[in-house]
């Protein structure tokens, strides 16, 4: 992990006005994470909002390039630098490696009848949300809220299955 001074240099490099976002992001993605040595170190604390914005812009660029490994490493560094930032905390949370819990709950009932109805009829409702229970259609509407309201009126809403039927590809 680079030290704080190197991290600050990275952020200074990020906010240089020349070059487009991609070029700036590329400049920060050298394997060792080091910015060109000609960049002066930032004065810690003097430009934190700008540096924070630059750090988040770089994170956004990494995610747009689908470089998840680098994005996770970067957000860890942002979190160390700005532990109290709500925006950094948000991205740190959504990029965290997920924890999976296994739980022996109530066994889900078979959906054989719902699947049979969908095979036979779902194609008749392109672009609609459907609610199916057994071999019965409960509701069909393009508006999800309408279908959800119909399901919530059921005695056991959790027994229904919601399904979106896509429109056929042109």
């Amino acid at each position: 992990m680079p030290d704080n001074q190197e991290f600050d240099r990275n952020l200074v490099q990020e906010v240089q006005p020349s070059g487009n976002e991609q070029q700036r992001a590329d400049g920060l993605c050298q394997e060792d994470g080091a910015a060109p040595s000609s960049q002066p170190p930032a004065q810690t604390g003097a430009h934190e909002p700008t540096e924070l914005s630059a750090g988040l812009a770089h994170l956004r660029a990494l995610l747009e390039r689908q470089d998840l490994t680098s994005a996770r490493a970067w957000v860890d560094r942002l979190r160390q630098r700005w532990p109290d930032s709500n925006r950094v905390q948000h991205f740190s949370r959504i990029l965290a490696r997920p924890a999976v819990t296994l739980q022996r709950g109530r066994a889900k009932s078979s959906r054989r009848e719902e699947y049979r109805w969908l095979r036979d009829h779902a194609g008749e409702y392109p672009g609609c949300w459907l609610a199916v229970l057994g071999y019965d259609l409960i509701a069909a509407d393009p508006d999800f809220a309408v279908v959800l309201a119909a399901v919530r009126k059921l005695e056991k809403p959790d027994e229904a299955l919601l399904h979106f039927q896509p429109r056929p590809s042109p």
């Binding site: 956004r60 959504i94 819990t101 296994l102 078979s110 999800f144 979106f164 896509p166």
Partner: protein, 134 residues
């Protein structure tokens, strides 16, 4: 852990999103993010206002701009244990497709397999083994 899958969304799996009733979602191993249509997100109480810090998301239906939020996700099982996780979902008001189960923070954390034989259509899933062997 076994769950039946369906074919109408190519591969659709049943899941529970927060407190909504059971729902089909399209399983897409090529999708960077799981994806929520705006109305589904709103039903769970999430804002659909785009977040300027959130990257645009390129899909086969075009480039989307929205926000990413952690959502409680459960895969119920017909056999064995259900799987619970908090997965990040890209929320976009203009997405007019199904709920999508994608890679980041979701499929990457699961071991899963599909049996696509007609009328079998099973989705096997479980947690990633602990690398320490525990």
């Amino acid at each position: 852990m076994v769950q039946q899958a369906d074919y109408t969304l190519i591969v659709a799996v049943e899941c529970l999103l927060s407190d909504l009733p059971p729902m089909h979602a399209m399983l897409d191993t090529a999708a960077q993010w799981s994806l929520l249509p705006g109305p589904v997100a709103q039903a769970m109480g999430y804002s659909t206002e785009p977040d300027p810090d959130t990257p645009r998301y390129s899909t086969r239906k075009g480039s989307l701009h929205g926000r990413i939020e952690p959502v409680k996700l459960t895969f119920p099982a017909e056999l064995g244990e259900e799987t619970l996780m908090e997965a990040p979902f890209y929320i976009c008001e203009s997405w007019d497709g199904p709920v999508v189960i994608g890679w980041t923070g979701c499929l990457e954390a699961l071991c899963f397999a599909l049996d696509a034989r007609q009328y079998e259509e099973l989705f096997y899933f479980g947690a990633m083994p602990n690398p320490s062997g525990g």
